[in-house]
Amino acid sequence: MSETAIRTRYIARRHTSARAGVSPGLRRQGAILLPGLRRLASPLLLLVIWQAGCSAGLIPARLLASPAQIAVTFWSLLQDGTLPVNLGVSLGRAGLGLAIAVVVGIGLGLVSGLSRIGEEVVDAPMQILRTLPALALVPLFILWFGIGETPKIALVALGAVFPIYLNLHKGIRGLDPKLLEMARTLNLTRAQTIRDVVLPGALPDLLVGFRFAVGISWLMLVVAEQVNAQSGIGHMMMDAQDFLRTDIIMVGLAIYGLLGLGSDQFVRFLERRLLAWRPVYGAERRA
């Protein structure tokens, strides 16, 4: 986004809040609280209908467990250690795969973003590879890496590396050339330019890529753990399928959902922290 675009929006925002006679601070608080509550109402209603349907016997437990049953199962899985252990395993796989993706993606993004030769060597293969659906590689990965931890972590890393690479590359290429020129007139060294101009300038895009990467890594994990695993949330769910335990499957789904939500909140937190220089940031609502 260009400097002027951000400024204009900032001014517009200040202007409207001044006209409404509400201080920006108050407005922001209200904006977070009120829609939050309103948005909860409809899901809660659905939950009530679901529970009523189960209690009235309209929904057979074989197909869909009731919310109350799911809560009880959740509690017992928590108590007997099944859930913490499997969750730990899943988190470990996702975390490690994501970490590898971040390191590799940023490395490749820097190489292709900062040098013409680097771009020629790195970018074309990445653009070709990214069109492959990563999940189609599962059989190959099992052949290559066996059925241990490696194929699962590799699958997560592979899925997550592309959004990180592509967005960082786009961020670096999209840097304002005037800022780079300014860095030259100030006699900044190449290292200083990368540290103070290139990386911070590409950070908003990198964070967008990171958010995608986190989402994809859960997706990859689900598949990896359901195809061939002895542990993890996905395995727990596949096991439950054999015994028609829809309550356990639903617990697994809920956990995945919470993981997705939690990691999204984490990335948002990172964005607020790292992009504090954008005056619009705190007030901006992004889906």
Binding site: A183, T185, P200
Partner: protein, 234 residues
């Protein structure tokens, strides 16, 4: 002794006629020079060569190592606070203090920790000025630095630049479209015509130069004529 010596400088883009055509220009240390010329006459091209942003292929440029440029846009890094923008690339321990001191000079001592996107256009341009001055340049180049500002702010900025120039004693090369601005600030006004310095006038008026005078009117007429602007034409 001279701050800048340009000899036979030629610059062309592709097959088009040369934008700068064997241009000669000498600027004395500490002198305030205004560079005028039509849009597209090559003023920015000359500045970029002087700033070292483009390579000299034909001709020679002698210039001090310490040069600073301020462009029409402030070109601040939005992710660095105001003082960090000013101190950018300065690695010495007292960089922050020096940045603060220069920001005081341009009247922004109270905004040193602000984010650039919260500044007004005039404030941002003053930060850019501070960033240029903190490097203690021997030559300060300004490429239409006030063009995007409103008339009132522009007058304040002109006064500020005059003060800073008097205090820092660096040579200043100011690109402007505004003949009055040139006559208010500069010791010398040169006009870029067909790739060379065509008109070269000494502006020997007592400072401060807020008032009209017959000498000023005369200089004004000669500059406008050099720019082929006839006062009654419009």
């Amino acid at each position: 002794m001279s701050a800048v010596r340009v000899e036979g400088l030629t610059r062309r883009f592709g097959q088009a006629p040369a934008v700068l055509d064997r241009l000669d220009l000498t600027i004395a240390p500490g002198a305030f020079t205004a560079l005028l010329g039509h849009s597209g006459s090559g003023k920015s091209t000359l500045l970029r060569l002087l700033a070292g942003l483009d390579d000299v292929s034909e001709g020679r440029i002698e210039r001090p190592d310490a040069v600073s440029v301020v462009f029409q846009e402030a070109r601040l890094l939005p992710w660095k606070r105001v003082w960090q923008n000013v101190a950018l690339g300065q690695t010495d321990a007292d960089a922050r203090d020096r940045a603060h001191a220069v920001l005081e000079e341009v009247g922004l001592g109270h905004r040193i920790d602000a984010w650039p996107l919260t500044l007004s256009g005039g404030e941002a341009q003053r930060v850019a000025l501070a960033r240029a001055l903190v490097r203690e340049p021997k030559l300060l180049m300004l490429d239409e630095p006030f063009a995007a500002l409103d008339a009132l702010t522009r007058m304040r900025m002109q006064g500020l630049v005059e003060d800073l120039w008097a205090r820092h004693g660096c040579a200043v090369l100011l690109v402007t479209h505004d003949v009055d601005e040139a006559l208010t600030l500069a010791d010398r006004a040169v006009v870029l015509e067909r790739g060379r310095i065509g008109t070269d006038l000494r502006v020997d008026l007592p400072r401060p130069r807020r008032h009209a005078s017959p000498e000023r009117e005369d200089l004004r007429r000669r500059l406008l004529a050099a720019l082929h602007v006839h006062e009654h034409a419009a």
